[in-house]
Amino acid sequence: MRRYLRLWQALLLVLIFVVWQVLTQPGLIPPVMWDNPDRAAFFFGEPLRIFGAIADWFGDGSIYRHLWVTLEETVLAFLIGSALGLAIGLWLGLSPLASAILDPYITAANAMPRVVLAPIFMVWFGLGIWSKVALGVTLVFFIVFFNVYQGVKEVSPVVLSNTVMLGANRRQLLRFVYLPSATSWVFSSLHTSVGMAFVGAVVGEYLGSASGVGYLIHQAEGAFDINTVFAGILVLTAFALVLDFAVTRVERRLLVWRPTQGETEQL
């Protein structure tokens, strides 16, 4: 059974699209919900037309420019957000006074729904990629920040003392103990933070832009072109899966030192 896992998964996907097509194609079966046979297709689109739209995008290559913009925004948001989160997380983790003073502000900033900042970023950074990057950064920052902060707090005191006894000074302690420990926490949140960077990019595009997949969806929605909206969603989903796959690969390379359950090799 497990050997055919992928096959079953693929079959399920095909089944979903077939049911979808059967329920929505005008005139194929008698209308279930509405009197008008075109109504189901209007609300839910038709898989065949959705795939047609996707094929058109990739056929004439017009999608690549938009995908590239979205990818660019995601990567920039992730890198800038992670760097800021790492720096400030380390700082507050190592400075009890600063963290005590800033604690309520951090909590408030994290509690605030940051999507509402999108219009402000639009005013500050314009309709280009930077307003989307800024939105993604606010989302990524807090995930990385909290992980690093926690990571710094939870560095094993024995490892610290041991490193001190081996002769490390403060700077070396930061570089050889706190930083590796904190980055391992950043990597453990890698999937979430890359996902958030992606969300920031797409939402930003949706709210106002001239390119990107979010922009395509927004355009199609304005024209009540539900098939293109779904096409955009499918492309985004596939894109997110590819991104996640890439992250998993990177993670495996960088966290070789980490014990994984069941994989521990005793000699």
Partner: protein, 267 residues
Amino acid sequence: MTPAVQLDQITCTFAGKAGSYTAVKDVQLAVGEGEFVSVVGPTGCGKSTLLNVAAGLLRPSAGAVRIQGEPLQGINRRAGYMFQAEGLMPWRSALANVTAGLEFRGVDAAEARRRGEDWLARVGLAGFGDRYPHQLSGGMRKRVSLAQMLILDPPILLMDEPFSALDIQTRQLMENELLELWSANRKSVIFITHDLEEAISLSDRVVVLSAGPATHPIGEFAIDLPRPRDVAEIRLSPRFIELHDRIWRSMKEEVLKGYAQTKNRVA
């Protein structure tokens, strides 16, 4: 001759929520140059506190520490410390852990690598340099810790129940290896343990501590067993049994006291 380590009237009082707690009181302890001294006492009697004071990790509430005649300020740079718990950096390979101290001192990378591999071979881990700590067994990790400490060639070794987490066979192997390394290059050792047999078989002198609070030495016994010793065989010699009997009689009361206290605390 100036002692390598001299603890002079050391008192350590910790402030806590339930009032202050005096862990050790008026402790007088001197370890000669090249002498192997074990400190035994009931669990929770403040043995580790004394070692942390000698390492400079903990400042005593009263009293002075002199290292080779000089008053200790800050971290004790002439001492290597082997902790009871895991002190290795999990994100560094065995070799990188062993060479960490050299790296902190700015030793050239190729030279550090050469000496690191040499030390790994000396503790029986040749070829395991690229393993991460989680890929090694408990005994192997202890060997790495031992090499990590000895590579810096400190004149003083502070060891806090380093082998207590190991099974009895591995433990005796490690004890023999420690004795061999120590006799090749006599360092001054303070070895903390709660295991009297381990203390006698390794040491030149055994210091017995009273039960806490306000722990202080209550007896000192010179161990006149011949060297070189095999820790497994020497346990069977009549002189060993005689010494064990004498020291145990002096300890017994304190152990029972310590046990009663722990029991009352739990009850």
